[in-house]
Symmetry: C2
Subunit: 258 residues, 2 copies
DNA sequence: TCGTATGCTGTGGCCTGACCACATGGCCTG
DNA sequence: CAGGCCATGTGGTCAGGCCACAGCATACGA
């Protein structure tokens, strides 16, 4: 009796899809913008004529995709709030697709290579073009490199986490949120593989030293506006690591396999 | 009385996260592979000691992310089945993030440019390298071009849909599922903007003719193994369209805005 | 008067039980 | 042997309840 089924008596869409599309429409129309509160679950439920559990299913999806943040209790911070943080959703998506064999790990690495090259190219060109105006502050990235230089006091896992953060920082500095979140997701999805490869290294000290050196070289190439060499270094940087860990033979990917 | 709370009496994870992580663990361990059936919702519920609604929230997430397909009824096709189709999830994610202003449309276009260039580069290089062995069949893509040539009998929307399919086909031919699904998501997320830009064109006939010509040129460049010109053409192809629709002035993106 | 304590209220989180539509597969009947 | 019928198990959905939690207003005490 709650739902009025005049018009579209048979709604082919499932109830939770109705909720999802309703919210998407509100977003597209600008009726909902980041920072706004969604109506309470019970309100949304009666407003749309669906059960609260269906509303919750839709909200769960939005939460995983990084569109909303939920909080119990009362007050301004409670409820479901639009946040629009893509990285979390991208990470979940890629991690699960890799787990479910929808994504081949080699393709993840190759894609990361493509995006990473695009990022440093863009940064280098921006640096070259803006020598006079804005000086292109790479401080965030450099600080991470400094943290990685605390030799001996940084575990393998910590080092690799900082490494990931460094590459992510570069992506964010390029100003492209799409690429940045993709990079976050790609890296996140193969995190466990990266860690698992460490024992295969001949010498962690040697490898980490090389990685640190390459990082500095990337920064230097960007600052000097040398896009081409930045691209080459980052290429060798990533390819080299995976080759050393025997994680993937990047030289002969997908030559003739299905 | 159903849930036994020995060990980990306070589970900080929310109930639906427990379900999600359980399934993810099964995927990673290979206990679940594409084609397999998930346990029934009620079984999963009692097995994990959570309510069925929580199980459903997790399944909903998996469904939107493209990991499972659900079907009512009984028989071999009913229930939740692992499918691992990333495109749908990528599309949802990007579409909603664009709607929620988490992604700037200009960044979406720029990212598409990067990926598209990588795709045609890879295809061209593969074509050049495999002149003797496998002849690199572009048939799928070419058939789409043929369909677009039915001049006058293809509406704007249909033409643009075929255009999208063409670019997606190229991505899939490159063999990289990650890039292919990203391209699908990127294109999908700006679908409405692309369509909305059509009225801004000086002449649809002129533009569509140019697009068709450029498509053929891309194919030709790939087949001749000319990666560089393939990249240039695809770049001009995409940039040109958006410039013509005044949808975005690709020449001066993000020069000094926040 | 001021500060604190206390309870009210509204939020999401979760569970239970119930019903429905549906698809299958076996059983029963003609 | 063929065809129809129903038992069974599935996801889809709803209603209602309880809980923990956070804020806020109110009342009370210093």
């Amino acid at each position: 009796m709650t739902a009025i089924d005049t018009s579209a008596s048979v709604d082919s869409r499932r109830a939770w899809e109705v909720v999802l599309q309703h919210i998407e429409a509100d977003l597209l129309a600008g009726r909902l913008v980041p920072g706004d509160h969604l109506p309470a679950e019970r309100a949304l439920s009666s407003e749309l004529g669906v059960g609260r559990s269906s509303v919750r299913e839709a909200l769960r999806v939005l939460e995983v995709l990084g569109l909303i943040r939920t909080q119990t209790g009362s007050g301004p911070q409670s409820g479901a709030i639009i946040i629009a943080r893509p990285s979390g959703g991208m990470s979940s998506l890629m991690r699960l697709q890799v787990a479910a064999q929808g994504f081949d790990v080699r393709d993840v690495v190759k894609t990361r290579l493509v995006l990473e090259a695009a990022v440093v190219t863009e940064l280098a060109e921006a640096s070259a073009a803006a020598l006079d105006s804005a000086p292109l502050d790479l401080g965030d990235a450099v600080r991470l490199l400094d943290a990685m230089d605390a030799d001996g006091r940084v575990s393998e896992a910590e080092f690799l986490a900082l490494d990931a953060a460094f590459h992510l920082a570069l992506a964010e500095l390029s100003g492209n949120a799409v690429i940045a979140s993709m990079m976050a997701g790609l890296r996140n999805s193969i995190e466990s593989y990266v860690l698992a490869g460490v024992p295969n290294l001949r010498s962690w000290a040697e490898t980490s030293g090389r990685l640190r050196h390459e990082h500095r070289a990337i920064i230097a190439a960007i600052e000097s506006g040398d896009a081409e060499s930045a691209r080459d270094i980052v290429n060798a940087h990533i390819t080299g690591y995976y080759a050393e860990t025997n994680f993937i033979s990047t030289s002969e990917q997908r030559t003739s396999d299905g």
